[in-house]
């Protein structure tokens, strides 16, 4: 039974989710003081939550008695869970729209494109947007940024963070009557503090790090997005044994999917492009080969369409193929400036 259906206050629910407890079973076996520590609330409050939870569970009666498979989750429960998680906005409305609201937590999304199209920009934007407080419609989470190429430039992250705070202050001023209470106390340094940056210099380091993330995220439960920029770089240099490469990549993909599911976070993998000879001509495709293309849940391709940057949903179990324009500005990723912007359905 998921947390969203418990009769507790919204802030208590928010704290449970932020700490990683999405279902009743995830915290029902804990002691109240353990829960209190994790949620940073009083022991009494934690005990109250657990009392309410076990009471609702008894009333619900939906659990294991019907011969369901151990460990399985019903589709109905999954639907409710999905609805509970706000998606991570990209700061571009059109792009958010084709993504169904933004980048989905609990899924692995691959984003690829030619050099200079804005992959790193989008990565940095997401690392910042995941931190948007719950009050402003965000997740209030932290980010892990795994840099394999050295593309992360902290000056740019600072610029985007400042712009994000500015935008939020503007919105806050417009929407809130009780401005004092909701006044944004974020400083760009706070935002930078919440991005955990890892630099890996070889494919073995990359794989080892992804294996280590399990432990790291258990200690930092508020991480809500893991960005790998780029997943490709180390796998393109001196790999003679392609079979090995395919095995390593698929192992890595499985690990990442498990991370996404277990900790309810978004995994975003940035990929490069290559030329492939298909049907008598060269075409652009994302790198790492055919088997890799099956590994990620969602696949988004960033490309040039005339003079504009577009994103195309290449593969997704729940989103339809569509493209949308976006732009890269000094503030980060934003809506495209052109007047005739429209979403093209394929």
């Amino acid at each position: 039974m998921e947390v969203g259906r418990l009769p507790i206050s919204a802030s208590q629910r928010g704290k449970l989710i932020a700490a990683g407890y999405t279902t009743l079973s995830s915290f029902s076996s804990l002691s109240p003081s353990h829960l209190a520590r994790d949620l940073k609330i009083s022991d009494n409050e934690a005990a109250e939550i657990m009392r309410v939870a076990s009471h609702s569970h008894r009333l619900d009666g939906s659990a294991a008695g019907c011969g369901t498979v151990n460990g399985a989750q019903t589709a109905w429960d999954m639907l409710h869970e999905e609805e509970m998680f706000p998606r991570i906005t990209t700061s571009c409305m059109d792009l958010d729209n084709i993504l169904g609201g933004g980048i989905n937590c609990k899924e692995v999304t691959e984003i690829g494109g030619v050099p200079g199209i804005g992959k790193t920009q989008l990565g940095i934007q997401l690392a910042i947007n995941v931190q948007i407080p719950v009050d402003y419609g965000g997740l209030g989470g932290k980010a892990i940024y795994i840099d394999t190429e050295g593309s992360f430039m902290v000056e740019r992250a600072l610029q985007i963070a400042e712009a994000c705070i500015e935008d939020m202050s503007e919105c806050g001023g417009l929407l809130r009557k009780d401005f004092q209470a909701c006044q944004l106390k974020m400083h760009p340094n706070n935002i930078l503090e919440n991005i955990f940056y890892f630099r890996v210099c070889s494919y073995t380091e990359q794989i080892a790090l992804i294996n280590y993330l399990d432990k790291f995220i258990s200690e930092h439960k508020d991480v809500k997005i893991v960005i790998v920029d780029s997943v490709t770089f180390h796998f393109r240099q001196d790999f003679d044994d392609m079979a090995l490469r395919t095995r390593l990549l698929s192992g890595m993909a499985l690990k990442l999917m498990k991370l996404a599911k277990d900790f309810s976070l978004a995994v975003v993998l940035l990929n490069q492009v290559t030329n492939k000879y298909i049907d008598g001509s060269f075409q652009l495709t994302l790198a790492l080969g055919d088997s890799w293309s099956h590994s990620c849940t969602n696949r988004v391709i960033l490309y040039w369409n005339g003079n504009e940057r577009y994103a195309y949903i290449d593969k997704s179990p729940s989103l339809r193929s569509a493209s949308a324009p976006y732009s890269v500005t000094s503030k980060g990723i934003r809506n495209s400036a052109s007047n005739c912007k429209r979403i093209k359905m394929m």
């Binding site: 050099p115 000056e155 075409q283 005339g306």
Partner: protein
């Protein structure tokens, strides 16, 4: 086993932008370009200069080498420079000329020219394997902290002609790219690499499978791209460099364009080559929208290197 160190991005900022010399950038003394690049050529990453022959890449490198050797009071890095001169284009005479014209106060003092020029170490590897060996030695001198700039002029020339075609070349380049990038990062110095151009073959007018093109568009593209130049070394290399500066000649004017940069808007600056190096004609760049920022135009330059239309597969 947690050998992993994570930095919070904030500590990166404190380490680099706040504590490093000149906030982690080497100013080029071209005001518009320095502003676009948040201070100058960034430390710790690969900056590529690409353009047709004779456009000014080596001139740019000579000026940068000089700037890196200058004392800090003149906006330099007060350090040594390793200049890998593959095609024997390095001219010490021209270097001194640039120095004398740009910084007369320093260069007219007795012994200064010798000291500055004495900080620039020129290597002339005759083959890729010699270059590979010298990279190992370079790594050691970087660890000693005196070298403040590494210039490789040109990367394309090193790789050309080493192999017939296909896979071996790409893999070797891959190793070098990773190695050079890691050199840049651990020593936190700027690394500038020049690249050549070649004409774009028809096969390379690449689109994704979902980009449907009308027949007319295809014809237009073809005629446009017949005179189009692209950077050598392939798409893998294009992904690997952090900053790409394109030098080109268009409408009888030379331009330097910030074609790829995580920290800059897509700006083009008109420039001329003068006795004191490169001079920007305007510090307010022209903002180019669209992929045109990546295009390399070459009007009036005849000696373009053409690799015979062969395509580099990754």
């Amino acid at each position: 086993m947690s050998n992993f160190v994570s930095f919070q991005a904030l500590s990166l900022m404190e380490l680099r932008v706040q504590n490093e010399h000149l906030a982690g950038h080497l100013p080029t003394h071209m005001k518009g370009l320095d502003e676009a690049l948040c201070g100058g050529i960034p430390f710790g990453v690969l900056t590529e200069l690409v353009g047709p022959a004779g456009i000014g890449k080596t001139q740019f490198c000579l000026k940068l080498s000089l700037l890196a050797s200058l004392p800090a009071s003149y906006g330099g890095l007060d350090g040594h420079v390793i200049y890998i001169d593959v095609e024997s284009k390095f001219s010490s005479r021209r270097l001194i000329e640039i120095g004398v014209k740009s910084f007369p106060e320093i260069f007219h003092r007795k012994g200064m020219a010798q000291e500055m020029a004495g900080r620039i170490h020129v290597l002339r590897p005759a083959s890729l394997s010699e270059f590979t060996e010298s990279l190992q030695q370079i790594k050691i001198s970087l660890l000693q902290n005196q070298v403040k700039l590494l210039v490789i002029d040109s990367m394309a020339a090193l790789v050309t002609g080493e192999f017939e075609h296909g896979a071996p070349r790409q893999n070797t380049l891959g190793w070098h790219v990773s190695f050079i990038k890691s050199l840049a990062e651990f020593s936190r110095i700027p690394v500038v690499v020049t690249n050549q151009v070649r004409s774009q073959s028809r096969d390379e007018i690449c689109h994704y499978y979902f980009q449907v093109q009308s027949w007319n568009e295809t014809i237009e593209d073809r005629t446009r791209h017949d005179s189009h130049l692209v950077a050598a070394l392939g798409i893998n290399w294009a992904h690997a460099v952090t900053i790409r500066l394109v030098l080109e000649a268009k409408s009888d004017q030379r331009f330097i364009k910030v074609a790829k940069s995580p920290i800059s808007p897509p700006l083009a600056f008109p420039f001329n080559i003068t006795s004191s190096g490169i001079l920007l004609l305007s510090d307010d760049g022209i903002e180019l929208t669209g992929p045109d920022i990546n295009a390399i135009h070459c009007q009036g330059h005849n000696d373009i290197i053409n690799f015979g239309g062969e395509s580099l597969q990754c």
